[in-house]
């Protein structure tokens, strides 16, 4: 969708509804089409519903039929605003705004989960509570790993802004590796807690703890998948549009996962029940 906007607004693109012949002159309807007929010949092909109106579908069809239509433009030729995004009514990238809106809504999700944990952290059954099972040194190392993954992610964003795709892919891969290390540590932690007798339904504390940290772990896992997919797409030149914006959007998601863990690490692990 974004590419279509860029194509239409780019140099050499035709305005909607305007037809051009092969030499760039307006098509008055007498020029033969690619399939050999004229515009009047194509009347036979018009469906019973009538002539398609000047809606977006009709515009896209005309643009697709236009032999002069630019199917791809270099990044610098795309119509861009001062913020580097496509021209929008706000002057900002819609993709980026959508990502920030999504992250704002994610704050509500994790706010609710953290609130639930804080309220139920004292509801224990038996002897197994947070002070007995938490392994602070181990979790501290996990936190450090996730924090460093944020550094490698921002270095990837910095590299793609310099058009250095090779370095970008290296940093993205390292970020995915660090994220995998973190998730592996979380799986180990869950396993050890379970062996110590803390199941998901053992108490309100355990339910809220596993739900909160499990949701975070799921987000990290999704982030790893996004990172690996992005590396693959960059390698195969499958990323359309502005590569730096795509990497930046994935980076925003990854940093959000990091800041959620910053809050969880302090409120859940470091502050005693």
């Amino acid at each position: 969708m974004a590419d279509d906007e860029g194509d239409r607004s780019g140099e050499g693109a035709t305005s909607p509804g305007e037809k051009t012949s092969g030499d760039g002159a307006p098509d008055l309807g007498n020029e033969p089409h690619e399939h050999g007929g004229t515009v009047t010949d194509t009347l036979d092909e018009i469906p019973m519903g009538g002539v398609p109106g000047p809606g977006p579908v009709a515009d896209e069809q005309r643009a697709a039929d236009d032999p002069n239509r630019l199917t791809s433009l270099p990044e610098h030729a795309e119509h861009r605003d001062a913020d580097g995004g496509h021209a929008t009514t706000t002057g900002l990238s819609n993709n980026k705004m959508a990502m920030w809106l999504f992250l704002g809504s994610e704050c509500l999700l994790f706010g609710g989960l953290i609130s639930t944990y804080m309220l139920y952290r004292g509801r224990l059954s038996g002897e197994v509570g947070p002070d007995q099972i938490y392994d602070i040194p181990f979790t501290s190392v996990s936190s450090f790993v996730l924090l460093m993954s944020s550094l490698t992610m921002v270095l990837a964003v910095s590299a793609v802004a310099r058009r250095d795709l090779r370095t970008t892919k290296v940093w993205l891969s390292i970020t995915a590796l660090l994220g995998t290390t973190f998730v592996g540590g979380q799986v180990y932690e869950f396993t050890s807690f379970y062996r110590e007798g803390l199941g998901f339904t053992t108490s309100l504390f355990s339910s809220s703890f596993y739900t909160l940290t499990g949701f975070h772990g799921a987000h990290v896992t999704i982030g790893i998948i996004m990172l690996l997919a992005l590396v693959g797409m960059l390698s195969r030149e499958r990323v359309t549009g502005d590569k730096s914006e795509v990497v930046e959007l994935v980076g925003l998601y990854w940093h959000f996962v990091d800041i959620v863990w910053i809050v969880i690490f302090t409120l859940v692990y470091l502050i005693p029940a």
Binding site: A82, D83, G84, L92, C107, V154, S244, T266
Partner: protein
């Protein structure tokens, strides 16, 4: 220079000028684009990450030692500092449009409100 050559030469100069101008515009757009995206250099990012690691180490340290009544406020302040540093520098919110800040902090504010509302509910209705 012949009359025939003049238009060719002029056209070539115009083409060169156009290409050079386009290159300058492209370069300026890229610089603006990059500086907007960056906000900081790679070295600065490494320094920021070192600061974050140091704050994390301080958090863990004070959780093992008794520092009295300032324990909880100190942990909350350090957590907030780490949060703001990552959001401002790594997520570039400090250098980006205020609309993005509004969208994010509005969600965060609502999340805090949810927590306060839940606490209040438990306080008033928990039998």
């Amino acid at each position: 220079m012949t009359a025939d050559a003049q238009p060719i030469s002029t056209t070539g100069d115009q083409h060169d000028d156009h290409a050079a101008g386009a290159h300058v515009v492209e370069h300026e757009e890229r610089d603006s684009h990059d500086s907007h995206r960056h906000g900081a250099t790679d070295k600065q990012y490494i320094v920021i990450a070192a600061i974050l690691a140091a704050i994390t180490a301080a958090e863990v340290t004070i959780s093992y030692i008794d520092i009295g009544p300032i324990f909880l406020p100190a942990l909350i302040i350090m957590m907030a500092a780490k949060f703001l540093i990552v959001v401002s520098y790594f997520m570039h919110l400090k250098f980006d449009s205020r609309i993005f800040s509004f969208l994010f902090y509005l969600g965060l504010l609502l999340a805090v409100f949810v927590y306060i509302a839940a606490l209040a509910t438990f306080h008033f209705f928990d039998g």
